[in-house]
Amino acid sequence: MTETSMSKDASNSGDGEAGGDGRINRLRFRKKDMPGGLWLKCESCSGTIYRKEVVEKAYTCPACGFHFTMPGADRVRHTLDEGTWEELFSEIEAMDRLGFVDSGPYGDKIERTVKRTGQNEALIAGRGEVLGRPVVLGVLDFKFLGGSMGEVVGEKIALCCDVARKEGKPLLLFTASGGARMHEGMLSLMQMAKTCSALSKLNEDGGFSICVLTHPTTGGVTASFAMVCDITLAEPGALIGFAGPRVIASTIKQELPEGFQRAEFLLEKGQVDVIVSRDEMRNMLARLIDFGACRPGAGATAGRRPASSSERASSSGAEQEAPSTSVPGDEAKGSSGDVASSDGS
């Protein structure tokens, strides 16, 4: 890879293959590229940027603020309070049940990816706290076969729903995925059903779910659990869609409009609730969780969340973020200004 390897055309290394074509318009962060000193090209503003600075800024462009795909482990760290993370179900491994072979056996591909990423699958699941509020967290990691959903990813999301249901905790999911993992054939398509089955049960038992759509999220992930959580958030500039842009362009044989399938486009079309920038994410999640705690399933009376939860919130006062006050609106950065005004404080 060249020094400007994070540009659009650098993504055909073969490991990111997923069900859709979410490979385009994204950055790849590979461990071997990670040592500092590399200059990168931003896919959004085309500016030449210093990699170390990108990583320090939580994988956003120092020049234009574009939110690059964030590796799963960084996402977990960035979202949860320090020392609260307890990973669950990490031992479950993928299986090549169809004996799928393309350029090589799928089994070998999994093995290489496990070695490269140091994790068994594309979904990282566990318990943790966001500004003192306990959550069940699931994070799809794009660097593991394009965040594609096969049996293990589907099962782990369903297990997250089950844990959230049994423990009465909010379910928090982050997606970055090219869709269903075609190497698992119909078993992967059935994960769309499996995840929704578990979510439907969670809903019935008074659960509360938030899904954050990040760059890029397409295909069978968008067309299942990701779009039907109680609250749908998106990061600014994220590519989000059912079909990948290349598929659409080749079907309709015309250029796609500027900004098509970006988070802002989805907001305008009524598909997402709020666009939240990365530096405001924890704050927004905490506030939403407090509203979610008013639900009957959490044992609250209308509009008032249980005291224990608010105590937890105040005990986290050591953090500079203040969850129950307004986040200053900043439309230009695609932040949450309009929602902040409804905070009422």
């Binding site: 844990v163 769309m192 578990a198």
Partner: protein, 330 residues
Amino acid sequence: MSTEEKTREPAGLPFERDIQEMERKLVDLEEQAGDDLDISDEVRALRAKLKDKLVETYAGLSAWDQVTVARHPDRPVTGDYVVGAFDEFIELHGDKQYGDDPAIVTGLGRIGDRRFMLVGHRKGRTTKERLRCNFGCAHPEGYRKALRKMQLAERMGLPIVTMINTPGAYPGIGAEERGQAAAIAENILKMFELKVPVIAYVIGEGGSGGALGIGIADRVLMLQYAYYSVISPEGCAAILWKDGARSPEAAEALGLTATILQDLGIVDGVVHEPLGGAHRDTSVMIQSMRESIVEELASLDGLDGETLVANRREKFRHIGAIEGRFPSPA
């Protein structure tokens, strides 16, 4: 996920070339035969030979061959079953929000004394119809229409019969603007809440999320030569082999046939097709479907709404899973 290619209409199935030649010859002979006993003997012999050839050919179909059978232009489509197998049908149009997607047909159906709601993909028969129906590729308003009618069925206490026959949900600008992903996702989620029996048939092409959007059912059945796949073989070949021409290999690898899917526990049953495929004898196929619908509806008689929902959720929660492979939640 979705399907980029329109159904290409084969002039005839490539693997059927010999069969078609024999069929042509048989027609000619039958015309000549009349009362001529010598020729009648020849006709009988050719008929027997043709039958043997069909048995042999259809016993050895590759996955890709089956995909071409599933896409055959003469294969019965949803409308054929409505006309041929139902005793009554009242089409109900529209999602009452945006429009009436012709790629999905919904309405009240009856076979004998069994009343139900039909939800099915519509591919059309003539070229004009096919264009109007986008070759069975539905838009979000199609999925929303389907959900609206299914929820109506629930209120009316009617079971639901779906017929899946789509290359995939439509990938286009309008479809994305109106929330294709959200519409399919909503259907999948809400079908887990329907307190009436749901039966799904994959009658031809089961194309990915576009198929699953009306595919959450208590009984999932497939016609013998239908296919059901996470991605079209062409799409898969283009992405993984970087070569759309390698679709036959992709079809094989994807494991998209009824036999394989039944073994994996994804499909509950297979509806047998007449010898040589449904396109060879549509009236027999339509009769089999009529019988199957009645039989499958009867198999769910007496189950209350709560039981149906609980069983349906449980079925898809563990579909295809190997016993003991996944932990139970801590």
